[in-house]
């Protein structure tokens, strides 16, 4: 689980979203939607970051600068080595997708859906993707999803690109067999009102350890207290107490 990873790439995609590729043994990564916990020099706690994509020998993280830790992360250069806990949490369960699952990402919730989309395609599924952003300047990975050959719908709240409005404005008119989502809580609440199938939500929470020891990220579910880091971050729609 614990690895010393070499930074292969660390580049900005937008004003606040960066891509970091790490050389890593990805054998511990078993499903899209899992995350890593990165130790940054000068910071006591690790930073949990979802895995966007992985292949043998490397993994890709897309992270948003939200505070001093992630800001410091932007100043880490290639060839630097980072202490990383790899393959944490339970990712998305692909077995429930049906033939035409819908992937809904909001802002920095978009990254894990990329790896999920690739995994679903590899299983012969036909996923559709909705990516929601506030404004045109914040959009990332539209072209990467398009390159996978799947339908990609982009929404912006201010209408500066794609369809004006929220992901649910597109979602309500699509037909799909299941949904997978990651993004902010207000988006989850809107999806909960819009969705017509079962689905899976990936949650975010401030974490202490990231591997289930400290109970720092617990949420109450219909089957009792669950740790977002260890039992999640992905939870089934039917489990969640809103």
């Amino acid at each position: 689980m614990q690895q010393i990873c070499t930074v292969l790439e660390n580049t900005p995609l937008t004003a606040s979203v960066w891509r970091m590729r790490l050389g890593a043994d990805t054998a511990a990564v078993t499903a899209p939607g899992q995350f890593v916990n990165v130790k940054l020099p000068g910071f006591y706690l690790r930073r949990p970051i979802s895995i966007c994509d992985f292949e043998e020998g490397s993994l890709t993280l897309l992270y948003k600068v939200v505070g001093r830790g992630t800001d410091a992360m932007t100043r880490i250069h290639p060839r630097h080595r980072l202490d990383v806990l790899v393959g944490l949490g339970n990712g998305y369960d692909l077995s429930k997708s049906g033939q035409t699952p819908l992937l809904v990402g909001g802002g920095v919730g978009v990254p894990p859906l990329y790896g999920l989309c690739k995994a679903l395609l590899a299983r012969g599924k036909a996923p559709q993707v909705i990516l929601g952003f506030n404004t045109r300047e914040e959009i990332f990975y539209e072209a990467e999803f398009q390159a996978l050959g799947v339908p990609v719908y982009v929404t912006t709240v201010d209408g500066s690109y794609g369809q004006r409005g929220f992901v649910t404005d597109v979602m309500k008119d699509l037909s799909y067999t299941y949904f997978y989502t990651c993004g902010p809580l207000p988006m989850f609440r809107a999806i909960e009102k819009t969705a017509r199938t079962s689905g899976q939500y990936s949650f975010e929470e401030r974490m202490g350890c990231g591997f289930g020891a400290c109970m720092g990220c617990s949420i109450e579910t219909k089957s009792g207290a669950k740790r977002v880091c260890k039992d999640g971050p992905v939870f089934e729609r039917e489990e969640i107490i809103w």
């Binding site: 689980m1 614990q2 130790k39 910071f43 006591y44 706690l45 690790r46 830790g69 202490d83 806990l85 929470e205 401030r206 974490m207 202490g208 350890c209 591997f211 289930g212 020891a213 400290c214 109970m215 720092g216 990220c217 617990s218 949420i219 109450e220 207290a225 260890k230």
Partner: protein
Amino acid sequence: MVNTQVTLCGIALENPVIPASGTFGFGREFAALYDINCLGTFSFKGTTLHPRFGNPTPRIAECAAGMLNAVGLQNPGVEHVKAVELPALAQIFHKPVMANVSGFSVAEYVSVVEQLTDEPQIGWFEVNISCPNVHGGGMSFGTSPAAAEEVTRAVRAVTKKPLIVKLSPNVTDIAAIARACEAGGADGVSLINTLLGMRLNLRTRKPLLANTTGGLSGPALLPLAVRMVYQVYEAVKIPIVGMGGVSSAEDVLELMMAGATAVEVGAANLVDPYASEKIVKALPQVMEQYGIARLADIIGAAHR
């Protein structure tokens, strides 16, 4: 060959390294990573009479050289611990374990200890009278000598197992609390629990933690722990389990020289899941470096 063995309240420990309660669960997450039988023992997740979800999130905030937590004693309750956690623990850990217990009244502490005292896996009780994150219990017993003595005496009456009382640093005179526990019949004291702290979000101008305040742990605490262990060593005759910011074998030696018989490792386990194992492995070499053949010989060395 150096000798890392110590004896804590009559029970021999292969080494003095003890993961602290609340940072090690019931051992399962760590047993998946390394053989936790390399540890002296560990102190399991603070157990209360009834199951508790704990505080709302955010429960965690970072700070320089440490972290704040306001978990609030989330635990499945003593019945579940007996029925599920202890049998599961028996599969992965084959040494006496330290049972950390907490309550919101003297009667609750007594009831939890009564229900666990006949469990053969339990070597020691660690009675937490110092949790800063719950209201109406926890730390309120640990900040008054009279209340500390009362809860110690009541628990003492229902168990013959070694009774270690875990003390709060959020007091003006920790030695007075330690003496009260000794007078109440404690076999040992452990210290320090977390230091009460708070952080604000500059954007919202509100506390980062949903509970407003939380307990500070991590390397920032070590000097405070060394000072308090040193003071308590001069005040009581019962053994001390030292803790607070321990992250290395050197830190273990320092707390032992201040007066600790054994040492708990807390927040370090959360940042590096292998921290306790690494400390156990490093101990013999660091002992050699400082000319220590028998670890038990350095307990309280700073006082001589």
